[in-house]
């Protein structure tokens, strides 16, 4: 009964929250750029287009690399893979986190203990180092591999948050009411608990999304990203290897890092805004 009213209330506040609007606007901007960008350029990221190391001009908006590749082309293709890793890696991480966190929170007892231990083990391991060991042996790595790998090490953060939320919801009165009236456990989960967790899941996903983008950028920068294709981290890797900094080629390394900072920053701010929308106590009077 309270659901429609709650949804309207959420929409009401969403339209008024500045952080949410600004954050979403920025992320949208970059998504559009990622979708439309490659259509604006007739080159491929690794094509030779002009003599190298040219600053931005009307012909090459972001200039060219030391090898004469068009930086703008690399940028927009890189944006695509960035978002892909964010969605797949972040989404998968959230999914695993939901599965483990919810099971631990709902069942409690020995199940919770075991899952908690598992979560803590994965949390403590420096994931990068394990990847180094694995990647040293893999000749070919794809975008999917990177996303899955990121997800496999970032889910503990999601699991923890969801477990805590499940704990608090599970002992609420309306759940007990459902149990008392003989509802099947699955039905209770879907009709009573899930709607109240929706907002929380969204917040968790946004954080996982942003985190995945940052992690992927680091992996790509070190040289452990996908062996084919282009990414923003890879652009920075190339720039560093070929001394872009010392050669004053700022157009090569500033756009990719700036884009990541802007996207992830907007995601974090969106998160704060959404938190205020969903949590009345945080709203300003």
């Amino acid at each position: 009964m309270a659901q429609p009213r709650k949804q309207n209330e959420a929409l009401y506040f969403m339209r008024r929250n500045a952080k949410l609007q600004i954050g979403v606007a920025f992320v949208f901007l970059f998504i559009i750029l990622a979708l439309v960008g490659p259509l604006l350029t007739k080159y491929q990221p690794r094509d030779y287009v002009a003599p190298g190391a040219q600053p931005p001009s009307s012909e090459f908006w972001f200039g060219t690399t030391s090898f004469g590749e068009d930086v703008f082309t690399q940028f927009v293709y890189g944006l695509r893979s960035t978002f892909l890793v964010g969605i797949v890696g972040g989404g998968l991480g959230t999914l695993i986190g939901i599965l483990i966190g919810f099971t631990a929170g709902y069942r409690g007892g020995i199940v919770d203990e075991i899952l908690n231990m598992l979560t803590n083990v994965v949390l403590v391991v420096p994931s990068l180092v394990v990847l180094l060991i694995v990647a040293a042996y893999l000749e070919v790595r794809g975008l999917v591999f990177e996303s899955v790998y990121i997800a496999l090490f970032s889910w503990p953060w999601a699991a923890r948050a969801i477990r805590a939320q499940t704990f608090s919801l599970r002992s609420r009165d309306f759940v007990d009411l459902g149990r008392l009236s003989g509802m099947k456990p699955l039905k209770i989960i879907f009709t009573e608990i899930a709607p109240n967790m929706m907002s929380y899941l969204l917040l968790t996903f946004i954080l996982q999304f942003g985190g995945a983008i940052l992690t992927a950028a680091t992996l790509d920068f070190i040289g452990l990203g996908p062996t084919e294709g282009m990414s923003l981290g890879l652009m920075m890797n190339n720039a560093t290897t070929y001394s872009a900094i010392m050669l004053h080629m700022w157009w090569w390394f500033i756009p990719p890092g700036l884009a990541i900072t802007a996207i992830v920053g907007s995601l974090y701010i969106t998160n704060v805004g959404l938190d205020e929308v969903f949590n009345p106590k945080l709203r300003e009077t």
Binding site: M117, N120, V121, L123, V124, V125, P126, S127, L128, V129, V130, L132, I133, V134, A136, Y137, G210, L214, T215, A217, T218, L219, F221, I222, G223, G233, M236, A239, T240, I245, M246, H248, W250, F253, I254, P256, G257, L258, I260, T261, I263, V264, G265, L267, Y268, I269, V272, K281
Partner: protein, 329 residues
């Protein structure tokens, strides 16, 4: 308290065993003779190759049952023997790592601790002043979203290349040899500032946000309201909130040690700073698997140990762990 420790210890032991096992298992279960593959990749001369071959045949012990190989690996580990480097043959891996460790400590220890202290202080300010909150918080979120290597590149470019203020490559001037002279120390410091700054600035953002949120949470707790209702001055309420908010931040510090590895690696690459991170990059580029494996293992053990120490310290600080409750378990 025993329960708290028992749990933590179990997690560390399990993680340790898992990590070492993964480290040992990967080459074992790759197709082909791992040692041959590795040596072929490194492109060694014939005599050196033979030496390494026989050494590693013993360590990987291919002529011995698998369980025995596993055991040998552990035995070597406890002797501090991480093998011999291929790229810098015949130096033992442990020796190479030991040379790089001081630079890491010099860089990471201040960066992590100072950013934690400063971030917590600023987060506390932001929590109690609306004006500060509106200026610091957005900035902190953006800092938290900045990739380490990009900030490093920005700083290197701005301060190093454009303004010629600071050097941005290596740990000390190429013209010098390490010594205890003032000029060496000065050179060391100059080369240290930029990589330190990029690590410090990003982490600062994260801690500030975390602390701000924790303090707001504590200020809204029942005990804070009770104190205020009894007329306690703001200073007392705030000091209680600060102390309680610090506890989860300590736990966060432990977790940060594992998380910062990536950032440190990236930063060392940008500044060619000779820590273990830079060593790893060179190991990858030179196909020196043994150096790579040894460095990784070293890092894992380091992180686990540091985590354990912080957990020890946590018991002293949070009375709930001593009295039976789990605290931030």
């Amino acid at each position: 308290m025993r329960r708290y420790f028992g749990r933590k210890l179990l997690i560390y032991i399990i993680t340790f065993i898992l990590a070492v096992t993964v480290d040992w298992a990967i080459p074992r279960f790759m197709p082909g003779n791992p040692v041959e593959i590795l040596i072929a990749r490194a492109g060694l001369k014939a005599e050196s190759a033979k030496l390494i071959y026989s050494y590693y045949m013993k360590a990987f012990g291919l002529n011995v049952p698998i369980w025995r190989q596993y055991l040998n690996f552990w035995i070597a580990l406890f002797h501090g023997d991480l093998g011999v480097s291929l790229w810098l043959f015949p130096q033992p891996v442990m020796k190479i790592i030991k040379q790089a460790v001081p630079y890491d400590i010099l860089l990471l220890l201040p960066a992590i601790l100072l950013s934690w202290l400063a971030g917590n202080k600023f987060g506390a300010y932001a929590a109690r002043s609306k004006w500060l909150d509106n200026t610091i918080s957005p900035l902190a979120y953006i800092l938290q979203a900045t990739p380490y290597m990009w900030l490093g590149m920005l700083l290197a470019w701005l301060c190093g290349v454009r303004l010629h203020l600071l050097p941005f490559s290596g740990a000390y001037s190429n013209a010098m040899m390490p010594s205890f002279s003032w000029s060496f120390v000065w050179s060391l410091l100059q080369h240290w500032i930029l990589p330190f700054a990029s690590l410090f600035i990003v982490q600062f953002g994260g801690w500030a946000i975390g602390m701000r949120n924790m303090i707001i949470y504590e200020l809204e707790a029942d005990y804070s309201h009770y104190l205020e209702a009894l007329g306690a001055p703001r200073k007392l309420v705030r000091s209680y909130a600060f102390h309680n908010a610090l506890l989860p931040q300590i736990t966060g510090l432990a977790l940060q040690l594992g998380a910062i590895v990536g950032g440190a690696l990236a930063t060392e690459i940008v500044f060619s700073y000779p820590g273990i991170g830079f060593l790893i990059l060179q190991a990858i580029q030179n196909h020196d698997y043994f150096l790579l494996q040894g460095s990784c293992l070293f890092i894992i053990i380091g992180v686990l140990l540091a985590n354990f120490l912080i957990d020890l310290a946590y018991v002293l600080v949070d009375p709930r762990t001593r009295v039976g409750m789990q605290g931030e378990g």
